[in-house]
Symmetry: C2
Subunit: 482 residues, 2 copies
Amino acid sequence: MWEQVRAEQPRIVAELIAFLRVPNLASDSADIRANAALLIQMLERRGVSARLLESPAGGPPAVFGELRTPGAKRTLVLYAHYDGQPVRAGDWATPPWTPTFRAAPGGLSDPIIQPPADDTIAVDTRLYARSAGDDKSPIVAMLAALDALQRAGARPSVNLKFFFEGEEEAGSPHLEALLREHAALLRGDVWLFGDGPVHVSGRPQVVLGVRGTLDLELTLYGPARALHSGHYGNWAPNPIVELAHLISAMRDREGRVQIPGFYDDVPPPSAAERAAVRTAPQTDDSVRRSLGLHRTEGGGALVGERVLLPALNLRGIAGGTLGVNAIPTEATASIDFRLVPRQRPERVRQQLEAFLRSRGYSVVHGDEAPPAAVERTRLVRLAWGEGYASVRTSPDAPAARRVAALLGAATGTAPVVVPSAGGSLPLDVFRRALDAVPIIVPIVNADNNQHAANENLRLGNFFDGIVVYGVLMGEGEDRPER
Amino acid sequence: MWEQVRAEQPRIVAELIAFLRVPNLASDSADIRANAALLIQMLERRGVSARLLESPAGGPPAVFGELRTPGAKRTLVLYAHYDGQPVRAGDWATPPWTPTFRAAPGGLSDPIIQPPADDTIAVDTRLYARSAGDDKSPIVAMLAALDALQRAGARPSVNLKFFFEGEEEAGSPHLEALLREHAALLRGDVWLFGDGPVHVSGRPQVVLGVRGTLDLELTLYGPARALHSGHYGNWAPNPIVELAHLISAMRDREGRVQIPGFYDDVPPPSAAERAAVRTAPQTDDSVRRSLGLHRTEGGGALVGERVLLPALNLRGIAGGTLGVNAIPTEATASIDFRLVPRQRPERVRQQLEAFLRSRGYSVVHGDEAPPAAVERTRLVRLAWGEGYASVRTSPDAPAARRVAALLGAATGTAPVVVPSAGGSLPLDVFRRALDAVPIIVPIVNADNNQHAANENLRLGNFFDGIVVYGVLMGEGEDRPER
């Protein structure tokens, strides 16, 4: 199948570029529906019957496609999401929705190029755009895989369904209602998730779980009006200082969360999980050096140990004004928790709120008015996201073994089997609503800057990914020749 | 003299408004020179010979004026500054350089008004604008005081000099060179500083000193590129977490600075200082309640105790992006130290840098390139301001006693004698360059929001302040009748 992909490279890349040009914040309804409409066209162009699925709870639509295979008894559902993380345009070297190519490996120091319009595109070429890595390229790869299968004279060996979500980066608040509403339509034997990066070594990987996630904006308050820091400094409590002490009390410098009870629900890795991670290449040292880190938190291996634990990340902090001599009125920390199996978001919420109360704070939520009798410096205002729990499929499960074997055959390399990604997908929602068996097969490069400025895709990963998805759709009947 | 001021209220207010309309960031050379040119006109209109004084080191000019009094043997120099703090326009209810009146006491909830164009302006009326409190209104009050003296048939009993600085809010980096260059011109027996607010009780006050100040922007670094917080969270060190722990280690929640050696140079208050603060009204509880503070740092009284100690204030913090799931590449804290006598800025710099090195950081300054062999997460980047030391005049000094007596006579109220303001002025520079005896007589309301958004002036304070400056210029020969 590799030859079929190579011959079509310029056309495939052109389809990806056209898709990346459409801005895709989940919060921007008009843009997100323009993406969905384009996806419907992309599916129908290939003979896949396609429609929008709306959630009774509102929010962006999902795009659903179905291609029945005569005689097939099993159904593979392919998942990816078409929305992207918010951007701060000023941080990007080139605009986030203007796809831009650069030669590798110098990254942003490489000149902007136009790749050749034939099959000689260099595999190290990088394509910069929001969602180039996360998560539009897997969508285009899935569709190109279907084309390549057909051009190779093969056809899917299973019924195929496509499910493209439109609010994954916003925490999927409307997804569960959508899945329940359309449960009959969405039934499948295995859900194949195309999201996240391949192993940092470049080896293919099968990811059998994800961490759960829970978002929080936490605001502490200082004086009712900003105060001259000279006249009042040393007397009026400073909300930045209070926030720094609170963060330090919540989480140490080794990643250990100090909220009482936080680890009560955290199970140790199973024997099968420990066996799987032992086969992963150890690349921590080179990654650490390339990122300029003189140490890592907790001292353990990234894939083998650290991401099997929960985490508390500070993704942003803001308070006062740099260079203005005042005690500010408030300071806000933006937090994302990463959860492991058995940690329920609602329980983590309770644990943190109990911890805050134990420190003397009065908790208010969202825009709720504070109790009249409570001084503002006693308040902590919390804006919680919905969050979702972690899911893992055992490395011993039959579907897990089958996908790993097919992936190894497709690529000629034993895949890295990862018990859980560090990142999050709302897989728990799929399990609860559809009893789905989720397996993740990522294709994009590990250094794709996903969620950040200058997100990018290495084109070699993209082309290899098309072959991988093609083989998984063909369930091994069609072997690539490379 | 009070009657002379009242009759002229509309004209005096109009002059203040015209002055407040001119934007006055020290960093904006064209604007700052427009302010200086206007000041020259305002002085010359009153027969004061006026000129710009440039610093050989560059920077904004000072405005100098001189009015000799035949036969006078003593010289009073009146100081104020015409530059203002930076603004974040979005935080202001009305634009910072569009002076706006509101009735009191509701503050921003009061409607915008036009005060009457006669002598019935309500004393509680507030005028909102950048520098309405800090520090253009004292300048206009000094000039109106001169007018009122003359209209009252009196005249100054001393030679008068005016010195209006243009970079006080920027830390006065060019001031010392300017003072040394023009030292002969600037000689005087007493320097009277019109800056800062009156006591929160509304009582007049004489302030005999200031805290020194030292600014710092401190940046810590995370990974070389922003990382997906799921895939790398719990492994890659997070610069916001590192910064929170560093801030917590530098300063506790009671205002105590934890940098080793920081208090070595801090003297206890003298007997005269302790006696002076005992006479100050205790208003901490009402101020605390009005600001919504459930506690104050360190537990001591604001004027009597806390501002006689040094302080470390967090004026701003920034890192990452609220709501974006990434481990950011850096985080910055913006700090201002407040210093007391004998604490030298250069020594505090050394103490903090030694503290950072003891925690394993490699210190770089400004835009300096880091050592090639040092990983970025080991770096701390420091951008120090020049800073200046604290100055105090003893409450027992003859000039201090005389000003306090005149102020009491002018207002009919015993003034609060404050050994040191919490805020900072570059008085140490005046002492070093000119051997000046500095005494501060503030006039503006304590709740003027100086340095912050919605800075404002209570007009009653302004009118009273004109009388106060008039009496001090007349050195008591002319008593107000109110």
